[in-house]
Every structure is written in structure tokens, then in C-alpha cells.
């Protein structure tokens, strides 16, 4: 199969594109509904667990003293990380004119938005008193009390909400021409809804002129956020004094890890998407392969970051720092540490082989491995450092409970639940950008 620079097959036409890519929005089959029901039930179970936790106390989760943060913050950081690939693919690759992004960026942006919508739950879930969570917002209350801007948690709030705003704007604005196509093809109340979402898009020259300018502008606005959000999230740890957290490498290290897991998540979502809607012509092996190559790169970056961390601990010769890194390798959580090194660094390196990175089953397995690895990476960073900090008398272990497991599983279900709804109600592959990559429909083609 020959492909052009955008990775799509030749001989696709503009009208083919509209027809093929709207296939995703046809009424759903039984399998879809069954899956959606299962996900919904899992979300409900997680929600019930949260409700019980609010009623009874956060003690239902397995945290303790000294491990005050555990699975919730792990999963929070994990989802924020997942949310990175979207903006990376849609904004950064757009600005540097990587053409293969056209077919995949919409899904990647959805991953961003839903990843943030999942991540955003966790700061609430983990709070001891979620009913007063709004005190963390920079709204002066009746006492004139502002949040403490020295606290990285206050920065977090600003970073995440900014990222959420920009990435959802980018997501919706990027969809305008496609929503207009949908509007033109549906009837009844749907027409009104999509009509509203399309915001009167007619595809006139003026509109396109403003639109492309705005798109570049938004892409440029979103790009620094890719770096800043996870840097700031990493400062939750790096700004503390806990050995194993207090490290200047954390910002780039977290950003690389975020992109690593985000790319793997995009691959994991695209594979069933192209298969079940028969849009392999648009999302081709070339796209998957490009993403796989990117994963090899990020695996090397995170692998390097791990080495630097250990090197710095050894070279710095600081007793607490040395102790915590030794503890990670041989302590109670050593299994998690070695598993994360394997799944995050060594397994993705298999993608060097073209044979492996063009095999769909291999890709799925490797991407799942990266997801497991990146979740464990945050778990190991958070839990081991807290479990084993300065005073040996205070050392302690964390054991997950039913409540926090249910909530974490529920969060995964919530993410996939949102994504599945997205593919049915919104165009999951950008039609207008795909068309941009196609040869214009000239008369003589006839």
C-alpha cells in the first residue's frame, strides 16, 4: 500500500472522507451498548465508593501516616500525564507541520479533555473535606482570605484549570468545520444541537481565513501548557523536602513520562477505533508506526531520567537521598520498582523492530505495558518516598483498600465511558484536516 506524506491512502476523495468518517456516528451496535453499560456500572461503583468515603471519612482508603498520598494522587498524576499527548499531537505537531497528525489528533485531543476530566476528580476525591474544596480557589472570600500562593497545590489548581480551558477550547474550535458537516447531514433536534455547536460555520473564505489564524494562535497558546502543566504537577513533589521528591529533574522527567503514557493511550484507543469503524484507510499503520517511534523516543528519555535520578542520589552522597533510592530497589515496594523499569523502558524498546511496531497485537501489548509502567512509576515515587523518609520511627507502609481500588478502577471506566460517548456523538477523525492532506477534487479526475 502506498501512502502519501500524511500517511493516508491515495485516491480518497473529499466526499469519501465525509461518508467514511461519519460512519463513526452511525447508531451503535449491541457490543457498543454492552461495553457502555459495563463502564457505566463501574463508574457507578466508583461513585458509590466515593460517596461512602465522604460519609465515613477518607480513612476508608488505605492511606495513613506517613503515607498521606497514595493511589489517588498516583492516578491523578497518571491522568494528567495521559492528557498530555493530545495537545502535543494537535498543537506541537501542528506548529511543526507534521502531517500525519491530521488523522489522529481529534482522538488525541479527546484523550486530553477526558484525561483532564478524570484527573480533575482526584484532587476532590483525595481531600479530607471535599465539601470545602472551593477554599483552594483564588476567590477572596468574606474574610479576604486568598489561597497560599506559596503552595504548589495552589499552582496546581491554576495550571490544571488553565490547561482544561485551553485544551477544551482548542478541541471545540478544531471541530467547527466538521460539526458543520454533521449539521448538514442530520435532521430534527440533532440539527439544532449541531447547528449550535457549529456556531454558524459556512465555510466561506473569510471564515476560513479567521479560522486558520485562530487555530494557529490557539496551538501556540496550548504548546507551552504541555510543558507547564506537568512541570507544575511535578512541583507538588519537587517543592517538598521529602527525599526522592525534592529533585530538580522532576519537571522534564514528569513531562517526558506524561507524553510517554499519553502516546501509548492514543495508540490503545486508535486501534479499536479504526478497526470497529472501518476507517483503516484514514488511520493507517503509518500513523501507528509514527506513534510507536515516538514511544521509543520517550521510553529512552524516561529511562535516562531514571538513571540520572539514581546517579544524582549516589553522586550527591546525601544519606536520606541514598537511602530512599536504595529502598526503592530493595524495600517492600521493590516489585513495583522493577516492574516499572521493565514495562516503561525495556518493553517499549522492542518497538525498535519494524516487525513488532507494525504488528497490532504487539503494539497493544506494549502500550498496555507502558500504561502499567507509568502508573507504577508515580505510585513508586509517591508511596516509597513517603513510606521511608527522615525519621525511621515514623516509617510505615501503604496497603490499598477496596475503596481506593474501586475509585481508581472507576476512574478508568469514567475515562473510557466518556471516550465511547465521544466517538458516537462527535466526529472522531477530523474531516477537514484530512481533506487538507488530500489532492483537491479537480474536474479532470471525473
Amino acid at each position: 500500500m502506498t501512502t502519501d506524506r500524511a500517511g493516508m491512502e491515495y485516491k480518497l476523495t473529499y466526499s469519501d472522507t465525509d461518508i467514511d468518517l461519519m460512519k463513526t456516528m452511525r447508531p451503535a451496535g449491541r457490543l457498543y451498548w454492552a461495553l457502555l453499560t459495563v463502564l457505566f456500572l463501574l463508574v457507578m461503583a466508583g461513585g458509590w465508593a466515593w460517596w461512602m468515603q465522604i460519609q465515613t471519612g477518607i480513612g476508608l482508603a488505605g492511606k495513613n501516616s506517613p503515607v498521606g498520598w497514595a493511589m489517588y494522587i498516583t492516578t491523578f498524576v497518571y491522568w494528567v500525564g495521559i492528557a498530555h499527548s493530545g495537545t502535543l499531537i494537535s498543537a506541537i505537531l501542528f506548529l511543526v507541520r507534521v502531517r500525519w497528525r491530521a488523522a489522529v489528533y481529534r482522538s488525541a485531543e479527546a484523550v486530553t479533555v477526558f484525561g483532564l476530566m478524570t484527573a480533575g476528580l482526584f484532587p476532590f476525591i483525595h481531600l479530607g473535606r471535599v465539601w470545602v474544596a472551593h477554599w483552594i480557589l483564588p476567590v477572596p472570600n468574606f474574610d479576604g482570605l486568598w489561597p497560599n500562593f506559596r503552595s504548589p497545590l495552589a499552582w496546581d489548581v491554576l495550571a490544571i484549570t488553565t490547561y482544561m480551558t485551553v485544551s477544551s477550547t482548542f478541541f471545540l474550535v478544531g471541530m467547527l468545520p466538521d460539526l458543520a458537516i454533521v449539521r448538514d447531514r442530520v435532521k430534527g433536534w440533532r440539527k439544532k444541537v449541531y447547528g449550535f455547536l457549529a456556531q454558524g460555520w459556512q465555510g466561506t473564505d473569510t471564515q476560513w481565513k479567521h479560522y486558520t489564524a485562530a487555530y494557529v494562535f490557539l496551538a501556540a497558546l496550548a504548546t507551552p501548557l504541555v510543558i507547564s502543566v506537568h512541570s507544575i504537577v511535578s512541583w507538588d513533589f519537587a517543592m517538598s523536602i521529602i527525599p526522592g521528591w525534592h529533585s530538580t529533574i522532576f519537571a522534564p522527567y514528569f513531562v517526558a513520562g506524561a507524553i510517554h503514557s499519553g502516546l501509548a493511550m492514543v495508540v490503545l484507543l486508535l486501534i479499536p477505533l479504526r478497526r470497529s469503524f472501518g476507517i483503516e484507510k484514514y488511520i493507517t499503520m503509518h500513523h501507528l508506526e509514527s506513534l510507536a517511534k515516538f514511544i521509543v523516543f520517550t521510553a529512552l528519555v524516561v529511562g535516562f531520567a531514571y538513571m540520572v535520578e539514581f546517579f544524582a542520589a549516589w553522586y550527591g552522597n546525601e544519606k536520606y537521598e541514598k537511602a530512599i533510592f536504595l529502598y526503592r530497589m530493595v524495600g517492600e515496594y521493590a516489585w513495583a520498582f522493577w516492574l516499572l523499569i521493565t514495562t516503561n523502558v525495556f518493553v517499549p524498546l522492542l518497538l525498535w523492530s519494524k516487525k513488532i511496531r507494525t504488528s497490532i497485537p504487539c503494539l497493544v501489548v506494549i502500550c498496555i505495558s507502558v500504561e502499567i509502567g507509568m502508573w507504577l512509576e508515580r505510585f513508586v515515587i509517591i508511596v516509597t518516598s513517603l513510606a521511608h523518609d527522615y525519621l525511621p520511627s515514623a516509617w510505615g507502609l501503604y496497603h490499598p483498600t477496596l475503596t481506593d481500588s474501586m475509585i481508581v478502577i472507576g476512574s478508568f471506566a469514567w475515562f473510557f465511558f466518556l471516550f465511547m460517548i465521544f466517538v458516537k456523538v462527535l466526529p472522531a477523525v477530523s474531516m477537514w484536516e484530512v481533506k487538507e492532506q488530500l489532492p483537491p477534487p479537480l474536474k479532470e479526475r471525473g
Partner: protein
């Protein structure tokens, strides 16, 4: 619809309540004042203090009970009391939980035909007692009526005697499980005085403890800790005492020693004799030639050469230790307690007496005037004889008051079967216990804090008890019951006093005659009530070496018993939290970590690391322990500092009928013990020496530990300095490293604390005092295992980094350090709180605003000292235990962080008092609860801005001793530790 304004408001009100999230509603406060008619002394919001006597153990410390709005909320040591001088141990602090125990018996209980309990009125209960007594008297068995009481002196003892006399009986048995039988026998043999003398630690330079845990449970631990620690630290005198501890187990007391010497318990007496031999042999004794010659003959064959092998010490070491003791200007050797109370306890005590005698300590550091009241106790042998009488149906009626022998004496003595032969048993107790549950009738009596009375812990120290508050339940004072029933019996004796209060006052007229010169009785009585008692000085009482003393009175076995692979020597160790088991029903004490093992809520079997390796045992393994008398299962705990071949089990747990907090927790070690009274002539319980076999069973039994780590991993947490370096003057402490934040400014005060690590004994009185003062919740065993204990101050224990097993093994060494919020000047917790719930006050406190906290727990993560505690749940405190809550301190709800506040409520109260009196605060006026309770006076609190304050002087930068924990983090703590001194 016509809606009136009133209806509208009703609906709004109702719907608001209905829609309020159940998760967000704090618990509604209950009505506060228990008095129906307000007492004239009660000023809402103002504390009233009542002096009384602590009756949690026979030590009889003076207490002051803080009463707010008619409710006792805190027990503190009485600074005027000559025993404890203001300090109070954890058990004393927890006496309030005995007062407010939710399982207290509220009405008399009568045994039904089916074996259940039937509540009865007081009239009915007294009728039952009287009719039974009259029946007994008709049968002419009045003289066989027996009363077993806990140790009482003064009025109650006299009244019990009178009451028994009125039915023609003399059988008053004062029984305490730790009855000092061996010590009394040793004193009788050596000095002809079967009493418990007074031990004076003040001014003593060299202390040798032969297995005596005098800082924990033995005799009068608060007084001893104060005396002992008073000579520690590095005061202006430049002196410091040294303590050597000889015994098989590194107990808390042993951990305070400068040297712990591992000696088999049966060899302790021989070691003392070897020291005597050195002293007299080298002519170091302070005795006449004749006496020296006599003593030399007595210790013939116990020279250092002969005793070196059995005791395991080198000859040189014995000589050196013996010489050091004799040459010390002032010395004290102590033998007593469970470790020596084996088969040769009396011999050990006698041998140690001889050592004291040859070194001239008798009459100086050991005095026989003003003897301790436990000397008047009956022995276990007396109890055993009584049981045999019961078995022969010779006891027609048995009365018990505040004793629980079914729990505390070895169960294989057959006490349960013996009690079953007694037709009528009346138990006077405030809570159901194992003994009361076998009674015919249970009479619920006042706790000591609700009662009138007096107690004389030592001759000449007359403590007076007064009710600190109205009775919590419909109970009666034991004295009133005695007077009332005595009157109704209508036999010999007057019982003229209308109530026990008057009876006590009548008896105090004799004390008035002795101590109240120049005052009317009224004045003397009121003064005594305010002071907590009256103290008299007694003339010195000389004792001489008894003529009858023979070598056989002194010597135990010549050889240490060989270690066999299978059997172990059992040491049952009194628990600092539960004493003989009476503390086990108090949640504060259950949750107070054992200082040396750091375990809570349970019992365990301690194995030495070598034995653990040999048996393949790790912490928590299920171990079946079998003695010839019983078999039980316990979790293993590998204890550094335990003699190979010995195992230790704490006393006090394993209750079956002692209320919700005690039942089913741990195992009662007394079941394993040999029931015979000691054959050494003392007639005590064989607390030490029962041979047990261990079998490792599959599976684990949960151990709830608050500290798993044993070593400090070179983190220099407990810092030490040699005494020699101190005398020379050490190097200056480093000054604070720079910080990016602007320096904190302190306007008027900067509160600070100095903790002398050299003085801290690890007793944990401060821990319980903090629970009481600051409404710190108890979370229970499971939550402790989950790592969620709430203590604001904890005593960390670290063993010195040394090999625990194998050939290079050295004697284990452990140290204690209290850790509380360090109130850092550059606090890591404050910067990370997103909502300013953690903030710095202008007086240097790390404030924590509970109702601002949203529960991110970031502050706790970022605290390097890990002193912040999170409320994982709302903590239910069952009625009426919640009456104890301090009204000055917020009860925290779920989801908020809390921590030590330096008792900010006390700081506020102190400042208010000073302002009302138009004066400046005086240094030492404000004492946080931990400092107030500390028997060792290790904690000093004050204003760092005042250069003249004691705390400023202690923490002066030039001093070589002050240091900050984790100094390198530059957190600038307001808590300064003073280095432990090594001899």
C-alpha cells in the same frame, strides 16, 4: 396556598436540616453541666482544682483534678506532694477513664438462679448482704468471714477492720499482685525488718539495679524517676549519676542505664555477693572490723573468681564494678520486682541488702523510717492459704473490694474452683472484672476520684482524698456502705459517723494532733484538703545487721542453670501501661505504646534475636507457649536485649471480663505461671523462672506496632556527648543556615521548648497527658496497624547500631526521644498548605486552623518529623467517656489535620491571667501538659525572647549539648534537644 411567615420558616428550617449532607454535619454538642443545682464554686469556663490521691497503684501519688463545669477533665500531679512533686505517670493520668468508663456498673447486680445478673436496688442489695451475714452469725461462723481488699491504709483500712470485727472476724487480707514479698523477706533476714524501705535517689552517684524496673512499675516509679533523673542531665553541679542494670532483659529502666549487663535472674544475688566480696576484700567497706570479718565469712566462696563463670562477667569486670560502687561517694543498690521474684528472690534481695550495708547506704539512700505502705501487704502465700480454706468450705462469706485475684494470681492455683465453694461472694468494684463476675452480688462503688478517704503511701505522708465531682452513676462510697451495713448489723462497734466523710475527718483528728500544731482542726482540715494531705518528718530509724543472718539466707544456686535447647525461662514483666492488668480497660493505656517494644493493644512473647534465628521465627509468628500449667498462643516479638534462653511476656492483658477495651486483647501470662508460692521463704508469686516450651505454629498473629524500625540508620536523631567533653566545654553549635524566606518576626513572645534527652526515661506519661489535655482520640488496634494512631507526642525508641545476633553481639543499647511538633521557624508544613490552615503565629507557633483545613495532607507529607496527625474518621467516644473532653480544646472532625499546639490553650490562659492581674508573664508559669506530667523533668517550656528564661538558658548556642533534630534541613525548630550524656 396561604403560607404564613411562621410556617414558611418552619419549612425552610426542616428542609435545611433534611438536605444537609450527613457527611458534613458535625456532631451536636450534648448538654454540658451535670449538676442540677449549680455549685457555688462553679464559674463557667474556669477550672477548679481538687487535690486527691491517685489510687491506680500503691505508690499513692498526690493528684490535682481539674474540674470544669462540674466535670473532672484532667488529672495532674500535685506539686506539693512529697511523693511525686507534681508529676504523674500515664496510669495516673488515665484514672479519669476509670471514672468515666462506659462499662461501669450502675446498679447493684444480684446473681440469678440461672447464673445471669439481675439489677437490684441498693436497699435490696444491702438486705441480701445483711440477711446472709446474720445467717452466718447464727451459725457461729462469723469469724470465718473474709475480706480481700486492695492495699488500703488509714480510714478505710481501719473501717474495714472495725466492720470485720463487728462480725467477729479478723480476716482482712490486703492483697496486691506485686506485693514485694522477696524484698520484705530479704529485709527481714538481713535487717530484721520485714518492711519496704524508702529509696532516696537524690544525691546518689552510683546506682546498681538488680533486675528492678524502678522507673516503670516498681514501688513508686514517679518518685524514683524524679529522683533518678534529677541527677541526670548536666546541671550546675557538673555531676551526673551512673546506673548499671543487671538482669536478663533490656527493660525501659535498663535502657536508661549507662551499662546493661546481661545476667541470669537466678545469678543476680550471687553477683551482688561477689561485689560484697570485692568491697570487703579490698577493705573498701565502711564498717567495723568485726562486722567486716563476719561479712567476709558470709560471702566466702562468692568471690569474683568463683562467680565469674556463673554470672558471665569477667573477673576484672566484677572487680571493677564492685570497686566503683564502693568508691562512689553515694551509692544505692536495688533489688525488687518481677525479675528477682523467682525461686531465689529473698536471697537476691538479701544479698543486695548486704551490698548496700557494706557500702554504708542503709540509713542514707535506703531508709527504714517512713517505710512504704506496700510493706504492710499480705503475701501470695496468705492468699494461697485462703484458697485452700475456701476449697475446704471454711469460708462462709467472702467480700472483695477493688481486687481482681482471679486475673492476677496464677490461674492454676485453682482460684476459680475455690471461689465456687464459697456460698456468698460480694464484690465491691466500679467495673466488672474477672473476680466480680464470679460473685453472688456486685456492689458498684465510687472510684477514688469520687470518694472521700485518705492514703498513706509512706509512713508520715498522709494523703487526703476528696471527691472531685458528683458521682457519675448511682454508685456508693465503699466507706458509706460499710458504715451503713455496720450500723444495721447492730453488733459490736459504733459506726457512729453518719457518713464516711465524717469518719475520715474524725480519724484525721489524730493526725491533726501530730501535724497540725497551732491550728484548729477546721483550719488544718481545710489546709490539708487544699494541699492534698499532711506530711510529717519521722525520726531516723537505724537498722543493724541481723544476728541470725546466715550464708544460706544469701546464696542462690551456685551455677546458672544450663541452657537447654527446648525450654525457656519465662520472665513475666509488669506492664508500664497496665501494671498488673488494672489499666487494661482504659483506652489511653491500651493505645500508649510500650516504651521498649513500641507495641499497643495486645500481648506478645519476646524472644532474643539468637533464639529467633534458631527457631526460625520472625515478628508476628504464632508461637505456642506451654508450661506445665497451661498453654497459650502469642505473637512473637524479637527483642534486642534479651538473654538467650529467656522469653518475656508482659503482664496485664488477656482479660475476659473487664469491659469493652480489655476483653479479648492479648493473653494473660499468669495462666502459665507456677502456682506455688515461692519456696525462698517469702511466699511470693514466682513471676520469673517458670520453664516454658515454644512451638512455632503456622500463621501469624497481628502485632500493632507504632514503630517498626529499630535503628536510627546513622541519622543522628539521639545525639550523645561524652561526659568528659562536657566538663571541658564542647564546641559551639552551628548557627542557622540562610533561608530564601524573610526571617520570622516574633512580636512579644517566641515559645520554645528544651527536651533533655539525658533525662527522658521513656515512661510515656507525657503521651497520655497529651491525650487527656488535647482530646486526642483513641483509634483502636486495627487503625494503629493501619498507621493511624493520633498521638501528638510520641517517644521514639532507637537501638544503637550494633549486631543483634552472632559472635560480635554486644549488649543492646536503646535510647528514647520524645518527638512532638517542633514548631519550626522555617516550617515545611506551612508553605505547602494551599489554604493557610497551617500558618505561623507571631509567637512562633505553627498554628493549625482546624476549621480552615480542607484535608490535603500535604503538610503531613512535608513534615520531616512526621508529627502531624490526620483525622481519617470521626472518632466516637462513648458516653460518658466524652465527659472527660477538655472544653478548652476543639474536638476535631474527620478530614482535618491536627498536631501538637504547645498546649496553646494553656498559653492563652496564662497570658489572660497575667493580663487580668496587670503583670507580665512569669517564666515557668505556662507548662504544656507534657512538661507538667514529666516525672523526669526532661521538658522545659518558655519564652525564647526572654534571655533570662530557663529555656533560653538551656538552649543557648554556646552550650555543647543543645541540638536540633534533623538540623541539616534548616527547619529552625523551636524545640531544642539536649544531647544524651555518655559516661
Amino acid at each position: 396556598m396561604d403560607l404564613k411567615r411562621r410556617d414558611f420558616l418552619k419549612i425552610i428550617g426542616a428542609t435545611t436540616v433534611a438536605t444537609t449532607l450527613p457527611g458534613c454535619t458535625p456532631k451536636a454538642p450534648k448538654s454540658l453541666i451535670p449538676y442540677i443545682i449549680p455549685h457555688e464554686e462553679i464559674i463557667p469556663g474556669k477550672s477548679v482544682w481538687y487535690a486527691s490521691v491517685c489510687r491506680e497503684c500503691p505508690a499513692g501519688c498526690g493528684v490535682n483534678i481539674r474540674v470544669r463545669e462540674g466535670r473532672a477533665t484532667k488529672a495532674e500531679g500535685n506539686p506539693l506532694h512529697p511523693v511525686n512533686h507534681g508529676a504523674l505517670c500515664a496510669r495516673g493520668q488515665a484514672s479519669l477513664q476509670g471514672l468515666y468508663h462506659p462499662d461501669r456498673i450502675q446498679t447493684p447486680l444480684l446473681r440469678t438462679a440461672t447464673g445471669g445478673w439481675e439489677p437490684a436496688t441498693w436497699e435490696k442489695a444491702e438486705d441480701v448482704v445483711l440477711s446472709h451475714l446474720q445467717e452466718t452469725l447464727r451459725q457461729g461462723k462469723g469469724r470465718d468471714v473474709v475480706w480481700i481488699s486492695s492495699l488500703q491504709t488509714g480510714s478505710l483500712r481501719a473501717l474495714l477492720g472495725e466492720w470485720l470485727a463487728s462480725v467477729g472476724s479478723k480476716n482482712l487480707l490486703m492483697y496486691e499482685p506485686f506485693g514485694h514479698e522477696a524484698l520484705k523477706k530479704g529485709n527481714e533476714r538481713v535487717f530484721g525488718a520485714a518492711t519496704v524501705p524508702v529509696y532516696e535517689f537524690a544525691g546518689v552517684d552510683t546506682i546498681y539495679s538488680f533486675g528492678t524496673d524502678f522507673l516503670e512499675t516498681w514501688l513508686s516509679p514517679v518518685a524514683f524517676a524524679r529522683g533518678f533523673a534529677g541527677e541526670r542531665g548536666f546541671g550546675e553541679s557538673g555531676r551526673r549519676n551512673t546506673l548499671a542494670y543487671f538482669g536478663p532483659r533490656l527493660s525501659m529502666t535498663a535502657a536508661n542505664a549507662d551499662a546493661w549487663v546481661d545476667v541470669h535472674p537466678d545469678m543476680l544475688g550471687n553477683l551482688a555477693l561477689a561485689f560484697v566480696s570485692v568491697v570487703v576484700g579490698e577493705g573498701l567497706s565502711r564498717l567495723s572490723v568485726a562486722e567486716t570479718t563476719r561479712i567476709s565469712a558470709l560471702v566466702e566462696g562468692f568471690g569474683p573468681e568463683q562467680m565469674s563463670w556463673p554470672t558471665g562477667l569477667t573477673v576484672d569486670r566484677i572487680v571493677e564494678l564492685g570497686r566503683a560502687f564502693a568508691k562512689s561517694p553515694s551509692s544505692l543498690a536495688i533489688a525488687g520486682g518481677a525479675v528477682i521474684e523467682g525461686e531465689f528472690g529473698a536471697q537476691t534481695a538479701a544479698a543486695v541488702n548486704l551490698l548496700n550495708y557494706v557500702c554504708g547506704n542503709v540509713g542514707r539512700s535506703i531508709r527504714f523510717e517512713g517505710a512504704e505502705s506496700p510493706g504492710t501487704l499480705n503475701t501470695y502465700a496468705d492468699m494461697d492459704r485462703l484458697l485452700r480454706q475456701m476449697e475446704r468450705n471454711q469460708v462462709p462469706a467472702l467480700f472483695l473490694s477493688e481486687v481482681n485475684p482471679v486475673f492476677t494470681i496464677p490461674s492454676s492455683s485453682g482460684i476459680a474452683a475455690a471461689l465456687a465453694k464459697v456460698p456468698f461472694i460480694v464484690a465491691c468494684t466500679s467495673v466488672m472484672d474477672e473476680t466480680a463476675s464470679l460473685a453472688t452480688l456486685v456492689l458498684p462503688i465510687h472510684t477514688p476520684l469520687e470518694s472521700w478517704g485518705d492514703y498513706e503511701p509512706r509512713e508520715g505522708v498522709h494523703g487526703v482524698m476528696q471527691p472531685a465531682m458528683q458521682p457519675v452513676f448511682g454508685t456508693k462510697m465503699l466507706g458509706d456502705i460499710l458504715l451503713h451495713t455496720g450500723r444495721r448489723l447492730g453488733r459490736a462497734g459504733s459506726f457512729a459517723a453518719p457518713d464516711f466523710h465524717v469518719y475520715v475527718m474524725e480519724r484525721w483528728k489524730t493526725i491533726h494532733a501530730r501535724c497540725g500544731k497551732g491550728k484548729t482542726f477546721e483550719e488544718f482540715w481545710v489546709e490539708s484538703l487544699a494541699r492534698g494531705g499532711a506530711w510529717e518528718t519521722l525520726p531516723p530509724q537505724q537498722v543493724r545487721l541481723a544476728r541470725t543472718l546466715a550464708a544460706t539466707d544469701l546464696c542462690g544456686p551456685k551455677d546458672a542453670p544450663p541452657l537447654s535447647g527446648k525450654t525457656f525461662t519465662l520472665l513475666s514483666s509488669p506492664s508500664i501501661a497496665h501494671y498488673d492488668g488494672r489499666g487494661a480497660n482504659k483506652p489511653w493505656l491500651q493505645e500508649m505504646p510500650d516504651p521498649i517494644t513500641r507495641l499497643v493493644w495486645g500481648s506478645w512473647i519476646e524472644l532474643s534475636p539468637d533464639d529467633a534465628v534458631r527457631l526460625g521465627v520472625t515478628n508476628g509468628d504464632r508461637i505456642q507457649v506451654s508450661s506445665p500449667y497451661a498453654r497459650c498462643e502469642l505473637p512473637a516479638y524479637i527483642k534486642r536485649g534479651l538473654r538467650v534462653g529467656c522469653v518475656a511476656i508482659p503482664i496485664g492483658q488477656g482479660h475476659t471480663s473487664y469491659g469493652r477495651y480489655a476483653n479479648g486483647v492479648g493473653v494473660n501470662v499468669t495462666a502459665l505461671l507456677d502456682p506455688k508460692p515461692s519456696a525462698d521463704g517469702s511466699g511470693g508469686v514466682l513471676w520469673c523462672g517458670t520453664k516454658v516450651e515454644l512451638v512455632k505454629l503456622p500463621g501469624k498473629i497481628a502485632l500493632a506496632s507504632v514503630q517498626e524500625a529499630e535503628s536510627e540508620f546513622d541519622r543522628e536523631i539521639i545525639q550523645e556527648i561524652p561526659l568528659a567533653a562536657l566538663v571541658r566545654g564542647g564546641e559551639a553549635a552551628p548557627v542557622n543556615a540562610p533561608s530564601l524566606y524573610p526571617p520570622q518576626e516574633y512580636l512579644k513572645h517566641h515559645w520554645g521548648m528544651a527536651i533533655d534527652v539525658d533525662k527522658c526515661t521513656g515512661c510515656s506519661a507525657c503521651v497520655t497527658a497529651c491525650y487527656a489535655e488535647n482530646n486526642v482520640p483513641v483509634v483502636g488496634k486495627q487503625e494503629v496497624m493501619n498507621g493511624r494512631e493520633m498521638a501528638w507526642i510520641r517517644i521514639d525508641r532507637y537501638y544503637a547500631d550494633k549486631a543483634a545476633t552472632g559472635a560480635e553481639r554486644e549488649p543492646a543499647k536503646a535510647g528514647f526521644i520524645p518527638v512532638l511538633c517542633q514548631q519550626c521557624g522555617a516550617a515545611p508544613c506551612e508553605t505547602v498548605c494551599p489554604v493557610y490552615a497551617a500558618y505561623h503565629t507571631d509567637e512562633g507557633l505553627n498554628g493549625q486552623v482546624y476549621n480552615r483545613c480542607i484535608g490535603t495532607r500535604y503538610c503531613a507529607n512535608n513534615c520531616p518529623y512526621k508529627v502531624r496527625r490526620f483525622n481519617w474518621f470521626d472518632h466516637d467516644i462513648p458516653e460518658p467517656l466524652n465527659w472527660q473532653l477538655n472544653p478548652d480544646v476543639t474536638v476535631r472532625t474527620k478530614g482535618v489535620m491536627e498536631k501538637c499546639t504547645f498546649c496553646v490553650q494553656r498559653i492563652v490562659e496564662g497570658k489572660n491571667t497575667a493580663r487580668m492581674e496587670h503583670r507580665e508573664l512569669v517564666d515557668g508559669e505556662i507548662a504544656p501538659a507534657c512538661q507538667q506530667a514529666c516525672p523526669a523533668q526532661a521538658i522545659t517550656f518558655g519564652d525564647l525572647k526572654d534571655p533570662e528564661s530557663q529555656v533560653s538558658k538551656l538552649t543557648e548556642e554556646r552550650e555543647p549539648r543543645p541540638y536540633h533534630m534533623l538540623e541539616e534541613l534548616n527547619t529552625r525548630p523551636a524545640v531544642t534537644y539536649l544531647k544524651r550524656i555518655t559516661a
